[in-house]
Structure formats: C-alpha cells, structure tokens
Amino acid sequence: MAKRVMLIEDEPNIIEAISFILSREGLDVETHADGTTANDRLRARVPDLVILDVMLPGKSGYDILRELREDTATAGVPVLMLTARGQSRDREMAERSGVSAYMTKPFSNAEMLGQVRDLLASAV
C-alpha cells in the first residue's frame, strides 16, 4: 500500500511540482493550501509524512506543527518543514516546535526527495 504524504503549501505551482515528483515515486499525495483545513484533515486521516510550509494563510506552519505534536494520534508523524527564511532563529523555532527535518527555499528536487525518503524510512 502506497505511503501517504500530506503537503501543506500555499503556492499552487510548488504544490504541482512537488506532487508530481512524489507521485512519480509511488507516494499518495494529498495537498492543502490553507492551514486551518489541513489541521482538520490531519486528524481525520493521519498521513505517513507531512510536508509543511511555514507561512500559510489561516494558521502558521509552527502552529500546525505544535498542535500536531500535542495530539497523541499525530505526535509521531514525521514533519518536513519548508521555509523561505533560513535564519538560525527560524530553525531554532522549528526545532523547538518538534520538526523532524527542515529545508530552506529554494531547494533542489533531489534534496527534497532525499529528505522524504529518509523520513519515511525512519518512520517504519
């Protein structure tokens, strides 16, 4: 059965490119562009991996991550965070919120795919 990845990102063209790459890997990709709706879906059907943008309409990536870690049903889900802010304090904030891995935009497809594979493998 295909592993499920939830991509929470508000840039439609990034969603399209990442969805294409992950689907080609045989992963089942569900996408959300809004932080609030994503949170509800996360609880309804827990994915194997979450790829999460920081700046989102409705709710920030940090808030989603905190709520996800506080819920026992989703606390163990690996989360790969994508951000356009590479400053050390942003990284620290993500780590404090319980991120599994962190990538700064712009990243290459190969880097992103490598991180996804590693996180899915470590979650087994």
Binding site: E11, N13, I21, A84, R85, K105, P106, N109
Partner: protein, 434 residues
C-alpha cells in the same frame, strides 16, 4: 571655569598618569611639595620657566598643560584606540597627542566618527532586512517563486519523455512564475531605491536632525521671529529624509511653543540676572523647568549667560535631543554613563536633581548638571504617563566647595575604578566591579 585656569589640574592629571608622586615632581622641578599642591588645585597660577620645567618633566608640550584638549576630541580618540587595540596606540598620551598635533587628532577623530556613522548605517540596514515586514514579504514571495521555477525546470530538464499534458502545465507554470518573479524583483528594487540616500549616509533620522541642529548652533532665528515650525522645517530640512523631516517638525513645534512662552528678547534680558538657573527662569516666566532648560539651550551663542548643553531622553533612555558641550560630550548612540542624573531623574519624576559632575580621568571641565523628568504629554484617563527626562549642563560648579562626582561618557573609555554602574570593561583595563 576657563580652560587656562585648569593648568594645575592638567599637571596633576598628567602626573597621575605617569604614576609620579607629588613630592617627586616637586623635587625635580625645584619647588616645595606644598607649593605644587596649591598649583595642582588651581590655587596658584603658573607660567614662565616653572611651566616649561614641569612640561619638560611630564613629557608634554607646555600648551597641553595650559590649553588642554577638548574632552570630546579626547573621547573620540579613545574610542578610535579601542577599535584598533592591535595598533598599540599610546592611550596614556592622548592629551599630549591632541595637544601637539590638533589637526591630526581632529582628522583621526573625524575618521572615527565617520566609521561609527557607517557602522550605524550597516546596523540599520541589517535590522531593516531582518525586521522590515514589507521587505520580508517581498523576499518570501521571491524565494517561493524561485523554488517553484527551480523545481519545475528540473522536472522539465530530466531525460526521458514527459506526458504532454504535464509538459504543457509545467511550461505554463514557469511562464507564470517568471512573470511573478520579474514583478517582485522590480518591487523590491523600487522599494530599496525609494529609501532616502541621506538617511543611509547620516545614520538614523534622529542623527540627521542632530546634525542639522548642531550646524545651526541649536538656535533657529526664524522660529524666534514667529515663523511657523512646518514652514521652517521644510526650508531648513529640505535635504533630510522624510522620517527626519517628521522629527524636525516635532522638534521645531516644541521650539516654537517654548519661544512663544518665553520670548527671546525677554529671556535675554532675564538671564542677565538669573544666569543659567532654569528654575529661576521658569519662575520668572511661569513655565516648567524642562521648558526653561530647552529655552536656555536654544539661545543664540552670544547670549549673556553663556552656552549650556542639554540632553533629553525618553523613558527608555534613548536620546531625543543632544546638545553637547566641549567639556561634556554626549555619545551619539546611547551607550552613555548610567551615573548621569538624567537617568536618576527618570526614577524620581517631578524632582529637580542637581549634581556637579566631572569627566572621569580628567581633572578639568567640571560642570553642573540639572535634571528633571516629567510626563511627556497631558494626563489621560486610565493611561500610564510616559516620562521624558531633561538634563541641562552648565560649565563650572554652581556651589563653591562642592565635590564633583566622576562620571564617564561611555564605559568603554571611562577610567573610573570600581564603578557600581560599569557594564563593560574599560579600554583602560579596569575590571568590572563585582
């Protein structure tokens, strides 16, 4: 106190720097220790051969002892030395250097001031990059678009066939993103270009205003003549950044209000009797002490009471007005001495504090500082008042026999030992008091 009456203080200062005992110096100069003591306390004036002998023994030019060097100049040179410790600059001979080579000393001090201004500009620009929400949003937008283009272009560049429908969609996406990237880049460039160049050259808007006021000797004749503050600010501040012009209008509005309450002609007549006493002046005109201090600081340079300095700070200690005196510099960037009564006044609002101050490490240049803090605006229901403090600085000591407290300009160049307010070690190597 005039500078040439402080020769004895400078002899004492120089002797202490050289770690000479009074008796040793007296013996070498062929005078009694008690006579030297009177000289060092400025109770005997000296000149002629004895001055030449003492200068020779102390290793300085006689003019260094008779004229000294401006405290502000010395302070700038100390800061320059701090920034280049590896140069091995002879900090203990600053007075001598400034006295013998005043032109070179000013050149070095001006260079130091320029460096500080540029460092401040870099700091302001870095701060803007980190915290400006408009710029942060634009950069975020740009990085997201670049990410999209990079990811999509990589897919298209991969070897092998791509489904025609996906190929069409990715081409369209790249086209859209490239247009978006061009627009964002243009917006960022326009935003940065719109920033006033004067601001980046002069540092903060407050510094721009400080420079303008300094160039005008802190006296704006047009405002005393009754011209409107906005019109005068527009005329004098045409070269300033928009933010600095806003501050200038605020400053001139206050100036005009003070001038209306205390007209120039009447104040000039009054100070013949009151001197630089802000309380006496305030009583005469029925104003508050802060207003009188501001009025004294904005009198023409040839006012009969002489020049006074003035520092105004907000409740966080940041200067909103600074008029230094030659013997009492006021740092530009707020790393000032916590011992100044300006800051004590903030904790004792509505009390007038008066202190005799002396620059630590220098025997001359005692000043009288009068400080007063009050709410910066009218009372408002259920709102905490926001205080600001004024500190007026007048040369000399107002009460005979008063002992002056040693204060610094900033900790980095202050030699005062075991200072309870020290926050960082001095260039002169004093440890932080435990």
């Amino acid at each position: 106190m005039a500078r040439d009456t402080l020769t004895g203080s400078r002899i004492r200062e120089r002797r202490i720097i050289l770690e000479m005992k009074q008796t040793e110096l007296a013996q070498e100069a062929g005078i009694s220790a008690s006579y030297l003591n009177l000289i060092e306390h400025n109770r005997r004036r000296i000149g002629g051969k004895l001055l030449l002998d003492l200068a020779d023994i102390l290793g300085v030019e006689p003019s260094v002892l008779t004229e000294g060097a401006e405290a502000a100049l010395i302070a700038s040179l100390r800061v320059a030395a701090l920034h280049a410790r590896e140069s091995g600059a002879e900090v203990d001979r600053l007075d001598e250097f400034a006295g013998r080579f005043p032109g070179w000393a000013r050149l070095l001090a001006d260079g130091q001031a320029r460096i500080e201004t540029l460092e401040r500009s870099v700091e302001a620009l870095s701060d803007r990059l980190a915290h400006d929400p408009h710029l942060a949003d634009a950069l975020h937008e740009m990085l997201s678009t670049v990410t999209s283009i990079r990811s999509t272009a990589s897919i298209l560049a991969e070897p092998g066939e791509l489904d025609p429908e996906w190929r069409r969609r990715f081409h369209r996406n790249i086209h859209e993103d490239s247009a978006r990237l061009a627009e964002t880049s243009r917006a960022i460039a326009s935003y940065l270009e719109a920033e006033d160049k004067a601001a980046s050259e002069s540092g903060t808007p407050q510094e721009e205003v400080d420079k303008l006021l300094e160039a005008a000797d802190y006296h704006i004749a047009a405002l005393d003549a009754g011209e409107g503050p906005e019109a005068v600010a527009a005329q004098l501040g045409a070269q300033l950044s928009a933010a600095a012009r806003g501050l200038l209008v605020r400053s001139f509005t206050r100036y005009a209000r003070d001038a209306a309450a205390m007209p120039l002609g009447k104040v000039l007549d009054a100070v013949v009797g009151t001197g630089t006493d802000p309380l006496a002046l305030a009583q005469r005109f029925g104003t508050d002490p802060a207003q009188a201090m501001r009025r004294l600081a904005t009198l023409p340079p040839n006012a009969p009471c002489g020049q006074v300095g003035l520092a105004i700070c907000d409740a966080s200690g940041v200067f909103t007005y600074r008029k230094p005196l030659p013997d009492f510099p006021i740092p530009r960037f707020g790393a000032d001495c916590p011992l100044w009564p300006l800051f004590a006044a903030l904790s004792r609002p509505m009390s007038v504090l008066s202190r005799a101050l002396q620059s630590a490490g220098r025997q001359g240049g005692a000043v009288t500082a009068i400080a007063f803090a009050q709410p910066s605006g009218p009372p408002q229901i259920n709102r905490e008042p926001v205080f600001e403090a004024h500190m007026m600085i007048a040369p000399g000591m107002s009460r005979a026999g008063e002992s002056a407290e040693e204060v610094g300009v900033t900790c980095r160049i202050c030699p005062r030992r075991e200072c309870p307010a020290r926050r960082e070690p001095s260039l002169l190597g004093d440890p932080i008091a435990g």
